[in-house]
Symmetry: C2
Subunit: 90 residues, 2 copies
DNA sequence: GTTTTTTGCTATCAAAACAGTAGCGCACGG
DNA sequence: CCGTGCGCTACTGTTTTGATAGCAAAAAAC
């Protein structure tokens, strides 16, 4: 389960999420979107690039084909999180 | 996205994974299954219990209904990880 | 063609999280 | 009592993260 090791790092999921819908964000936009320290963002981006989930193109960072596929699987999780958050309030 | 904060912690996903298929594992079994420090496992379990994803019953730790629902969404991710791991070797 | 701005990224250092090992307190069976 | 198994804590050292400042290079503006 190398995936758990990758996703079980702070901001990994968040970065992928911010690049949803084929968004292209540059370093500083990602920085602002996540509200994260640049040093951490940089190491996380390096890992995600190493893993071929994210790539840096001319107009900013974006998901690779595989990254997009992963995000696609993550979407239902997002809906679940809403219900879950609601149920926690009880 | 409070979910990202929860899952973006080491071993959180792994613990949920180890409790798949309605398994009931006690503290030491989880310890052995994950190969993790007891202090970390304990804080992770505390968080997961707080989040109502895991519960401690008479015969060990197990997923709550919501935890099981989350795991269910995580399963396809597991399959994807296989393909992904293969494609990384190229 | 030299300032100015923008961009990806690094340096530094403090705080928090994690890892590894030992062991405690409690319940239960004998 | 005494051992066993349980959930869990204490302690110490390492790694990761957080926060701020700033650099080098390229593009833009003047």
């Amino acid at each position: 389960m190398a995936l758990f090791e990758l996703l079980g790092r702070r901001w990994a999921l968040r970065v992928i999420w911010e690049l949803r819908e084929n968004r292209h964000l540059n370093f500083r936009e990602l920085l602002a979107a996540c509200v994260i320290a640049p040093s951490v963002l940089n190491t996380r981006l390096a890992e995600l690039r190493e893993m071929k989930l994210v790539q840096l193109s001319d107009d900013g960072y974006a998901l690779t084909k595989q990254g997009a596929a992963l995000l696609h699987l993550l979407m239902p999780l997002h809906d679940w999180a809403d219900d879950w958050a609601k149920s926690l309030k009880d």
